[in-house]
């Protein structure tokens, strides 16, 4: 069989610098999926963009060929005229991008954006194009294709937008689909469904797929062949089973080791001791009023409802859920950044045997003390550090605000926390832009540590990082917790990350906790359909254990579609029941 796409010795560079894609060669067979794996900066995205010739203006292809076409009809895409290349784009090769939120024009109706492909390449008249688009919309899983056709992107959730993107890529029935991290921005259950959809469509139409990803679990579920890239070069390539089963190259093995995994082995459930609580949320709810515009009554949106969370001193409590589950609202309330609805209370106890403080009813002095004792680490290290402050200023500013120490003492402290997080004190004079993503997250952790807090709230601290960097940051957080005796409230959407660091996990969905248990119990004996769906949706880097889409579908729907005894009646949720000691599940008795 001849390959559909044959990339030979491709090199791409910017300006006069060395190549960022260096001598890359691989083939894609018709009807097969080839996964391009690597971390950010590995050149995988540039490589796949060069196939469509939509590289940034400043990038130049320095050498190589990209032959595309079945059998002997192949032609070198790099040699085509701009006009013939446009005929290939969207028609024979199409692409899905990473961020469905931003990859669709917000001002045009979905139907119009998808039908444009047919108008361009098939010269279809609007009614015919509309018919074809409606059929494709139905195929990619829109329950009401007509509504989707007339909808604007901002009226759709991320998963739905990505389906629309897929419809756009599929509507002209291309020979090759390039999917650039198509599910990275999506929740894990949505990811499972979107991956399943791409696979189904591929079987129906016989198209080939290039799947760009950093997630070995996704690879195992999707790909026949794998190309592992690092720093612009191909490290290893071959059949997925072989590469994933027995990685020959050191870099692939390293990627494997870094990937967080849900543990397979069961450990006995131990009831957590709740004697000395550092943080105690009781009956916390939060309702927002959203202006409906004009003279309409404001809408009431419930961000979280009746949440009880208790964090024992020195432990880590993880709150897991998808976007919109209310987990961040809980964290903000816990830190006093937001008032809970009347009836909810948050208590904080700075040290064993010390007096409990009511977080939402503090005196001025208590508030100042609380702000020292409780700190936060944010999700995005690229925007949570001021680009105009040197590291030293960023690290000493909290101490200045609280009037701690002399100038020299503050400087010494800054140098000390830098050492704690594994950075060198001679970096104090630098600006944040001189650091990589992982180093910046170390800086934000250092900044949180300068005030010697006892409680750290981590809001998705590793979501913006590469797998291997994520691994380092988690190790660092564990290390610091054990050394300094910190307690963590750890917010994440990723069960696998949480499996490693948490002592107790609360799974949230639509503002309520649906299941809560120590991680071993939760992963070995999940009871709630939503928890089961989350676990099932987690892609495993093992070709023999594909995602069970049925299990995902059962739990990932809205709460009124959950099976008895877990179903919500309208907005009325069942109570949290303690099934085993320390294992809470929201179900009818």
């Amino acid at each position: 069989m001849t390959p559909l796409l044959d990339i030979q010795d491709l090199s791409i560079g910017f300006g006069t610098q060395g190549p960022v894609v260096d001598g890359v060669s691989f083939q894609v067979m018709p009807g097969q999926t080839c996964a391009l794996v690597g971390e950010s900066g590995s050149g995988k995205t540039l490589t796949c963009r060069s196939v469509l010739r939509i590289l940034p203006d400043t990038a130049q292809v320095r050498s190589g060929s990209i032959r595309f076409g079945p059998g002997d009809t192949g032609q070198d895409l790099l040699m085509l005229s701009a006009r013939s290349m446009r005929a290939v784009r969207g028609d024979r090769i199409s692409m899905i991008f990473q961020e469905p939120m931003r990859s669709l024009s917000p001002l045009h109706r979905l139907g119009d954006q998808v039908a444009e492909v047919l108008r361009l390449h098939r010269r279809m008249r609007p009614p015919a194009a509309r018919q074809a688009v409606l059929e494709t919309f139905e195929r990619v899983g829109f329950a009401d294709p007509m509504r989707a056709f007339r909808a604007y992107p901002f009226e759709m959730s991320g998963g739905m937008r990505q389906r629309a993107m897929i419809a756009m890529a599929m509507v002209a029935k291309p020979d090759l689909l390039i999917a650039d991290e198509p599910t990275t921005a999506l929740d894990v259950t949505t990811q499972a469904q979107v991956l399943g959809l791409i696979k189904d469509l591929q079987q129906e139409t016989g198209m080939a797929v290039i799947l760009v990803t950093h997630d070995l679990g996704v690879v195992a579920n999707m790909a026949e062949t794998v190309v592992v890239m690092n720093k612009g070069r191909v490290m290893e390539q071959g059949p997925a089973a072989a590469v994933l089963g027995a990685p020959a190259h050191g870099y692939t093995a390293k990627l494997f080791a870094a990937a967080p995994m849900i543990p397979q082995v069961a450990a006995p459930a131990r009831a957590p001791t709740h004697s000395d609580l550092i943080l105690d949320l009781r009956g916390v709810s939060k309702t927002y009023s959203v202006r409906a515009g004009g003279w309409k009554k404001p809408l009431q949106v419930t961000a979280c409802r009746d949440v009880d969370l208790a964090l024992p001193r020195g432990k880590t409590l993880a709150v897991v859920g998808e976007s919109g589950s209310g987990k961040t609202t809980c964290a903000r309330i816990a830190l006093g950044a937001e008032m809970p609805d009347p009836g909810g209370t948050v208590h904080f106890c700075p040290g064993q045997g010390m007096e409990q403080i009511h977080v939402h009813d503090m005196t001025r002095a208590q508030r100042t003390a609380f702000q020292r004792q409780a700190q936060m680490v944010f999700q995005d290290p690229y925007s949570s550090l001021s680009p105009r402050m040197r590291v030293q200023e960023a690290l000493t500013e909290p101490m200045e605000i609280h009037g701690i120490g002399t100038r020299a003492q503050r400087r010494d402290k800054a140098a000390e926390v830098l050492r704690w997080v594994g950075l060198s004190p001679d970096m104090l004079g630098r600006f944040p832009h001189a650091f990589s993503g992982g180093q910046r997250q170390r800086l934000s952790i250092a900044r949180a540590l300068t005030l010697d807090p006892v409680l750290l709230v981590c809001d998705e601290p590793t979501s913006a990082l590469d797998v291997s960097v994520q691994d380092q940051i988690l190790t660092l957080l564990e290390d610091i917790r054990d050394r300094a005796g910190l307690s963590y409230l750890f917010i994440s959407h990723d069960l696998a990350v949480v499996a490693r660091i948490a002592d107790e996990v609360a799974v949230m969905r639509q503002g309520v906790v649906v299941e809560q248990a120590p991680p071993d119990t939760l992963f070995y004996n999940p009871r709630h359909p939503y928890t089961k769906a989350l676990i099932a949706a987690q892609p495993e880097p093992d070709v023999t254990r594909p995602i069970d889409l049925g299990l995902v579908a059962r739990g990932a729907g809205t709460p009124d579609t959950w099976p008895e005894p877990y179903r919500f009646e309208g907005s009325v949720a069942p109570d949290l029941m303690e099934l085993d000691p320390g294992h809470l599940v929201r179900c009818h008795a």
Binding site: R89, F97, R102
Partner: protein, 342 residues
């Protein structure tokens, strides 16, 4: 239907805003101590002209200047009856100009619609010039096209308007036989509308439009270019490229539509900026707009004239913002369905 309701809502809020503005205008005009008449009376007393004092005193009661400020306001606006009953802005009586000793309505009459005409022409000029230049400068950013557009733009921003006016008058007259100064040939002044008069006005407007519009066009062009550059780097542009759209069509359909929002939203700001910015130009060019009246009235505390001109500018601004708001609603579905999106 939804749009109609929004339009009504917007119109009502505009009227309310206008009332608030009128209060502020009135208060600010009355902030300096004294008024035109009391100044005049003091001056007359000092020079011993008693009969003049009597007339001024009469005007003071006639225009209720001897009453408390809030009553003066209500009478001026037409909310309360004055010495002549209800006779304020609402009833179409704009007051008396002490400086010119004539009713305000009579003084500004012609100037009003000439102001509107000149400024509309200037706004049109701004958009016609800035739109293509801004788009081309962004699409060909950092090439000679971009640089020369920027150069011309900065030149337009940096040259003082009245200087530009003088230069254009000189060369316009020398090479194209354009008329100098005024908004129409003096023979048509006070004449009823006729074809030759319209023609005369149009020819006279060429230079003023250019002068008043240049700096606005230059600023607008730079803003559009910056907006376009922002939009061009967004992922949806890449999606459109990957679809196989030709560059020109892509530019017009996607990023331009997005970059258009600030462009439209600026209509409201543009109008008052031009009216007040063109005061000096009007003086230099001898245009019969309300600019020179405003200047004179503010200098001599001629409060009814100044108040009326300020209210007129405020009305232009409010109408401008209302138009731009309604256009935005038509253009951008995210604003139209604001409540349903995030």
């Amino acid at each position: 239907m939804m749009f109609l309701r929004y339009a009504v809502y917007r119109f009502v809020t505009m009227l309310l805003t206008l009332v608030v503005v009128s209060v502020m205008v009135f208060v600010i005009i009355n902030l300096p101590p004294g008024d035109y008449l009391s100044n005049q009376i003091a001056e007359l007393r000092a020079t011993g002209q008693a009969e003049g004092v009597a007339k001024a005193e009469f005007l003071r009661t006639e225009y209720a200047l001897d009453r408390p400020l809030w009553e003066q306001y209500l009478i001026w606006a037409g909310f309360a009856p004055g010495p002549q009953g209800f006779s304020g802005l609402i009833q179409g009586n704009f007051g008396w100009s002490f400086e010119f000793d004539r009713p305000v309505g009579e003084i500004v009459g012609d100037a009003l619609w000439l102001t509107v005409l000149v400024n509309l022409a200037a706004v049109l000029f701004v958009y016609v010039v800035a739109l293509p230049l801004g788009v081309v400068a962004a699409a060909r950013s950092e090439t000679w096209v971009d640089y020369s557009a920027a150069f011309v733009g900065y030149l337009g921003l940096a040259t003082p308007n009245f200087l530009l006016a003088l230069i254009l008058f000189y060369y316009g007259h020398k090479y194209f036989d354009l008329p100098i100064g005024g908004l129409m040939d003096p023979i048509y002044e006070g004449e009823p509308m006729s074809w030759p008069k319209v023609k005369s006005i149009l020819i006279h407007m060429i230079v003023p439009t250019f002068v008043i519009g240049t700096s606005g066009a230059a600023a607008m062009m730079q803003r559009l270019r910056a907006n376009m550059l922002d939009e061009l780097s967004k992922p949806y542009v890449e999606t459109a490229r990957a679809k196989g759209l030709a560059p020109a069509k892509l530019l017009a359909k996607y990023p331009l539509r997005m970059a258009f929002n600030p462009f439209v939203a600026d209509i409201g700001n543009l109008l008052p900026a031009m009216v007040s910015g063109s005061v000096l130009v009007s003086v230099v060019l001898g245009l019969q707009t309300i600019g020179p009246f405003l200047l004179a009235a503010l200098k001599s505390q001629d409060q009814f004239l100044a108040g009326f001109v300020l209210m007129f500018v405020a009305l232009l601004t409010l109408i401008g913002t209302m138009i731009s708001d309604m256009l935005l609603v038509l253009l951008d579905p995210r604003i139209r369905y604001g409540a349903r999106g995030q």
